[in-house]
Amino acid sequence: MSHHIVEVIDLEYSYPDGTPALGGVSFTVTHGESVALVGSNGAGKSTLLLHLAGCLVPQSGEVRIGHLPLTKKTIPQVRRNIGMVFQDPDDQLFMPLVYDDVAFAPLNLGFPPEEVEQRVVNALNTVGATHLRNRPPYRLSGGEKRRVAIATVLSMSPSVLFMDEPTSNLDPRARRELIGLLKRFEHTRIIATHDLDMALDVCTRTIILKNGSVIADGPTVDILGNEKLLHTGGLEKPLRLQGCPVCNNN
């Protein structure tokens, strides 16, 4: 197996209505890395993740997950190994109960009942949502929905996790708890976000995307400290790295 678990080579994509979204993106992610994919609204983060998850097929260029190139044929196989957490948990949690949602993937993968049960228990346990097991998803708070959404992909034990704006719409406390959770994960993961403080906490590496192209790729601390670079990308320095407005010291 290749050392590179995610490999993107010259990926280009335009939506059917002609909107260009990705214009030649390339990068590789190695086993166990945690990567922040940052960029302003419309930079192409979600589009890129949809490609990585095999929901969109490249129009030109290539995506490789593990050693498999993503094509229409390999998609079902590749999908078994990736966990994609979408931006709006209401899109991800479509089953009547939390349990059903977490069991959805294992059941589709054809595991025997005991194994399904075990996987659900483990996944809910990992995200600290065991008590939500028999609740309908529409009765959950934003933070709880987010945790359960993550559990729905953990239950398939993916070798790589993709997350789209996991901290959006969360209150500070729920956000803090989620960050704690993400920090503990050992999965290879790519997190699309413009919450740079979270990126600083959770990811060792950062890729800045602008208008569908990579404009920077390097260690998070370096990149998020580079004000000029962030400005070009339409972003702002994480609050923690900014000077204190009250005591005025850097």
Binding site: C55, R79, F86, D91, A105, Y138, M156
Partner: protein
Amino acid sequence: MSTISSSLFDVNHLDALSNQTTCIHRLDPRVKLLATVVFIVSIMSLDRYQISALMPFAIYPIFLIALGNLPFKYLLRKVLLAAPFAFLIGIWNPFLDSNVSFHIGPVGISGGWLSFASIMIRFALTVFTVLALIATTGFNAVCMALERLGVPRGFVVQLLFLYRYIFVLTEEAGRMARARSLRSFDGKGMGIRVFGSMIGNLLLRTLDRAQRIHIAMLSRGFDGEIRLAYPLKVNRRDILFLSGWTALFILLRLFNLPYLLGDMFSGLAK
């Protein structure tokens, strides 16, 4: 928009009521559904002038409401809210059927009034019972019962999906309607044209959502088949519930209990 928030409130409230754990809630959804169907058929098959024979049937909804710990007043309000159509159709009877059918003292009661009263009583009984069914069972469990009783999986999944997204879309629609009403004055802005684009917008967003959900399903191995893992098990209590009530409904349907009772009373009085 008061109608939206109140409808959502209703769905929410019934849903919350169904999350209790009384002995009625714990019964298998299938037996509750079947008993309710037998109940409704028994009532509907009584002849249309019947009033007294309907009375004992009230025991079933009352039983569900009492043991299921349901708020009677709330259900009553819902029954009244739903009543107008039955009322409008039934209220013609007194005018069209004025044959005096019996007297209470000097007052003659016409067949029309009897059948009208009968319609309204039936209405109350059936509606109370259906509401009690959902409030003691919950929609998801009713769907599971339907699936086990032979309703096609595709339709059950449709019901489950619909129910799941009612909560999301009603709130979305409510927000839009509120935004519209805050900027509409003197009825301007509430017309069909605005409505068309508002609903159109909601529709486009809904279609996008459907696509996102589909992607989310695919990325978790969806292959066209929804697998539902619900162990439903009938135990002795369930069998007792179903057979007991069914037997009672059939008896009440065959014998006019109040009539026998009333006869006994007037017999005693003599």
